[in-house]
């Protein structure tokens, strides 16, 4: 089981790098959708957890993160008719290098943490920290509103990975609540994207500075 889990986590880490390297927003959304769907399936791999509520939870997570949210975002992208390039503040190669540095940092750091015995040898903690850091990098270096959402999604994925450490302790309701929050948040932002586009003729969030007093 552990090796399968680790394999998935490595794929997730690689997808982080892909997300940093993506040049088209469509590709970026797809990558994050696949990442979210993969992560949503993790609870099935944790032993003693496979029960009906957990399965429902997995189905909900995969559906929302893998299908619904990407669809909403694609739709927002189409409605706003924006340019399809990501347009990062720093180039794609430096982003990837930064992402790799983040993974290195996360692995080094995770070694220092005192973990419960059953989590030894699992990549959950480093993958979580690395994904959070990559989310931050996406948030700070991608300026378009849609790419900001992607950054938040990656950030949330990182937190979700960390949450699987506590999977036995965390009540189902909390996880469902988090999912609902995420869904509603993204739904609202996608509507706002349209309005930003109409008001500023661009999705560049730097334009919002002009709202400052």
């Amino acid at each position: 089981m552990t090796s399968l889990l680790n394999a998935i986590l490595v794929i997730v880490l690689v997808m982080n790098l892909f997300a940093l390297a993506a040049s088209r927003i469509r590709a970026l959304i797809r990558i994050v959708a696949v990442q979210g769907a993969l992560l949503g399936a993790i609870p099935l791999l944790v032993p003693q957890h496979v029960a009906l509520p957990a399965v429902l939870m997995v189905v909900a997570a995969v559906a929302i993160k893998g299908v619904v949210i990407p669809l909403i975002m694609m739709r927002a992208l189409r409605d706003a008719q924006i340019k399809r390039e990501v347009g990062p503040l720093i180039g794609r190669l430096p982003s990837v290098i930064l992402g790799a540095a983040a993974i290195l940092f996360a692995v080094l750091f995770a070694d220092q943490l005192p973990l419960a015995d059953q989590h030894e040898g699992v990549l959950l903690v480093p993958a979580s920290i690395a994904t959070v850091l990559v989310g931050f990098i996406l948030l700070t270096t991608r300026v378009k509103a849609i790419t900001q959402i992607v950054g938040y999604l990656v950030l949330e994925n990182g937190i979700y990975i960390f949450g699987t450490l506590l999977i036995e302790a965390l009540p189902l309701v909390v996880e469902l609540g988090v999912l609902l929050d995420l869904f509603v948040g993204i739904f609202v932002i996608c509507i706002i994207v349209n309005h930003i586009n109409q008001a500023f003729s661009s999705l560049d969030t730097r334009q919002l500075v002009s709202l400052k007093e």
Binding site: L89, L108, F109, Q112, I129, Q148, T205
Partner: protein, 667 residues
């Protein structure tokens, strides 16, 4: 019983403004309901306080508050003593607002005023009842924040907003200090309960820390001299009944905190009492000197609050000196003077502020040099202001004299002891005498300029007497002043009871009545009143009508009433005497050429701390910190980047960098 009554009163006060919030903006019924609730609350509270002062047992009720350990609430004689002015002024001020701040004329802020007035009264009642630090802080914050909303009632005025901010900053500083104080208390004693410490329970360093934090936190609220900077502006710009409440009662909560807290600490070093005495003397002297330099009626009264807090602190300082020198008679006299002056100041200062409010309402100005001749137009206000002025100057036969007499007698007692105690009297007594003399000069200036002479402007000439709803509270306060002044023997047992819990055990033989011949004082005051009455009768009996003649005007053909002797010119001589601290700023008129144009001159006295220290320092700091604006561009990306940097830095501190390096470079 007492506690139940007081808790009911607190609830009534807290909810008094609520019904009005749901009624119309300009409906007078909301205000009437608020006044009714507040008045019933005040009556219940006063009854409870009287019961608390007379009943012997000290009952403490435990309120469950799981997060903070259990909260203790109880009423003892000291709480009851401070509850009297809280509920008295709470009720009277609310009644006063019926005439002074009618809801239908102030639809934009009338409801706010009533709501926060009730909350402030309730907050103060809670803080006086609290026997546990968290409940105390809760009451303290409710009081302080409501006071902020009351001070900035007229928030459409720029100046009002500004003093509101100054007040908010200062009160938060004070609360921060109190957080420090109670955290240290918790650390030292292991609980938040405010119970007396056994001697030798904590070290001297911790005791000193507790003392200085208490002095700073409570001193800020009380308006002790270097920390008084928020006070004049806030008092001058709030509605008058709020100024009366702030000056008469809210400042006293600082004094209450000091009295309650300092007497929990065992074995005070002599320096504490000395420091409080010196600070009190400075506040008293500078307070009255700054008051003389003011041109604004309410600002002047506000500086007099600083002065009176100084007198109260001198009494407290003397009591603390008595504790360190083991002289119960100093404690009794000093503390009795301190506590009685708390009552007295809350009566006469509230009276003066309410009179000032009626002057402001009638004339639409609080500038002393624009008023004049109000005694004929507003005889009630003029007479009541005179009562307050005589009382605040500490003249017999009114109450200010009695409390100052107690402090004087206490200071004189210290002379007989050689050594450190003697110096207390050396500075104390003459400073107190000087404060009294300057206060008389100041109130001669105010009374002469505002009520005597002829009106200097159009508005004072049109002034009318205040309505009954405003006069009644002033009459009650004046009656309190006269009662304590003429029958001081009545308050002696009250003071004895209030101090009973604070005196060291074994000092029972000393009571106020045994140390001070209060009955003689009362008899002499009565004789004085009788003598004055006879004199007045004799003058009226002679029936000489006043003749109306023009004053000598140096031969000028067209004198106007603006040419009267002004308050500023009356105060000039004292202002020049104290120019080294007042630094009066005069902007002289520029008169040029053979046919000069109309010119004007004005002068003002800036505040010592706010205008001359804090404002320049604040501007300097703002200039140095300009570069920080670079960091705040309004870009979310930047802010997220800051978070990222902070997180990575904090995580990095957990990495064993040395271990990595040694592993990398080891063979």
């Amino acid at each position: 019983m007492a506690l139940t009554l007081i808790l009911i009163a607190t609830l009534l006060a807290a909810g008094s403004g609520l019904p009005g919030v749901f009624l119309g903006r300009s409906s007078r019924w909301g205000q009437r309901v608020a006044v009714g609730l507040m008045a019933s609350g005040a009556l219940a509270g006063l009854a409870g306080a009287c019961l608390g002062l007379t009943s012997a047992q000290d009952r403490i009720v435990v309120f469950p508050w799981p997060a903070m350990g259990d909260s203790l609430i109880g009423v003892d004689a000291l709480s009851a003593f401070f509850l009297v002015p809280i509920f008295l002024m709470g009720g009277l001020g609310s009644l006063y607002s019926l005439g002074y701040w009618p809801q239908d004329q102030h639809p934009e802020n009338g409801r706010k005023l009533q709501l926060f007035w009730g909350l402030m009264v309730a907050g103060m009642a809670l803080l006086v009842l609290a026997r546990q630090a968290m409940a105390f802080l809760l009451g303290w914050e409710v009081m302080a924040l409501s006071a902020f909303f009351l001070v900035s009632t007229e928030d459409h005025r720029e100046e009002c907003r500004q003093v509101g901010w100054v007040y908010l900053v200062s009160t938060h500083l004070g609360t921060l200090t109190l957080f420090g104080l109670f955290s240290l208390w918790r650390w030292a004693t292991g609980s938040y309960a405010l119970l007396p410490l056994a001697s030798e329970a904590v070290g001297l360093g911790v005791l000193n820390g507790l003392f200085f934090l208490a002095l700073l936190g409570f001193g800020l609220k009380a308006g002790m001299m270097p920390l008084h900077f928020w006070l004049p502006g806030a008092h001058a710009n709030a509605p008058s009944q709020v100024s009366a409440m702030l000056s008469g009662v809210v400042l006293k909560m600082g004094v209450y905190g000091l009295v309650r807290f300092l007497f929990l600490l065992p074995d005070p070093p002599g320096a504490w009492g000395g420091l409080i005495l010196v600070l009190g003397a400075i506040s008293g002297l500078l307070g009255v000197v700054f008051a003389i330099g003011q041109h604004d009626l309410k600002r002047l009264l506000a500086y007099h609050s600083v002065e009176n807090i100084g007198i109260i602190l001198m009494g407290l300082g003397l009591a603390m000196l008595g504790r360190s020198a083991h002289r119960p008679e100093w404690i009794v006299l000093g503390l009795a003077g301190c506590l009685l002056h708390v009552w007295n100041h809350s009566f006469f200062k509230s009276l003066l502020f309410l009179c000032a409010g009626s002057v402001v309402q009638a004339t639409h100005t609080q500038e002393i040099d624009r008023l004049g001749g109000l005694a004929k137009r507003m005889p009630w206000t003029a007479g009541l202001f005179l009562v307050g002025a005589v009382a605040i100057c500490g003249l017999p036969p009114l109450n200010g004299f009695v409390s100052e007499l107690l402090v004087y007698l206490g200071l004189f007692r210290t002379i007989t002891v050689p050594g450190a105690g003697g110096s207390a009297a050396v500075i104390g007594a003459p400073v107190l005498a000087m404060i009294g003399a300057l206060a008389v000069a100041c109130f001669v200036k105010v009374y002469g300029a505002v009520f005597l002479g002829t009106p200097r402007d159009h508005d004072p000439a049109q002034a009318h007497e205040a309505p009954l709803s405003m006069r009644a509270p002033m009459l009650v306060l004046a009656a309190c002043c006269a009662l304590i002044g003429l029958a001081p023997g009545l308050v002696a047992p009250v003071l004895d009871r209030a101090m009973a819990g604070l005196l060291p055990p074994g000092s029972a033989p000393f009571s106020v009545a045994s140390l001070v011949p209060l009955d003689t004082v009362g008899a002499m005051s009565l004789a004085l009143v009788a003598f004055a009455g006879v004199l007045a009768l004799a003058f009226t009996a002679r029936g000489r009508a006043a003749r109306r003649v023009g004053t000598w005007d140096c031969g000028y053909a067209l004198p106007t009433s603006r040419m009267q002797y002004t308050a500023a010119s009356f105060a000039q001589i004292i202002v020049t005497m104290f120019a080294w601290v007042l630094r009066p700023r005069v902007h002289p008129p520029g008169i040029e050429g053979p046919f000069p144009r109309a010119a004007g001159m004005h002068s003002h006295v800036d505040d010592l701390v706010l205008d001359r220290v804090l404002a320049p320092v604040g501007r300097c700091v703002a200039r140095w910190c300009d570069w920080i604006h670079q960091l705040q561009q309004g870009l979310t990306q930047h802010y997220v980047l800051y978070i990222l940097i902070a997180v990575v830095l904090m995580l990095s501190t957990l990495l064993p960098i040395d271990g990595f390096l040694s592993r990398l470079f080891a063979r």
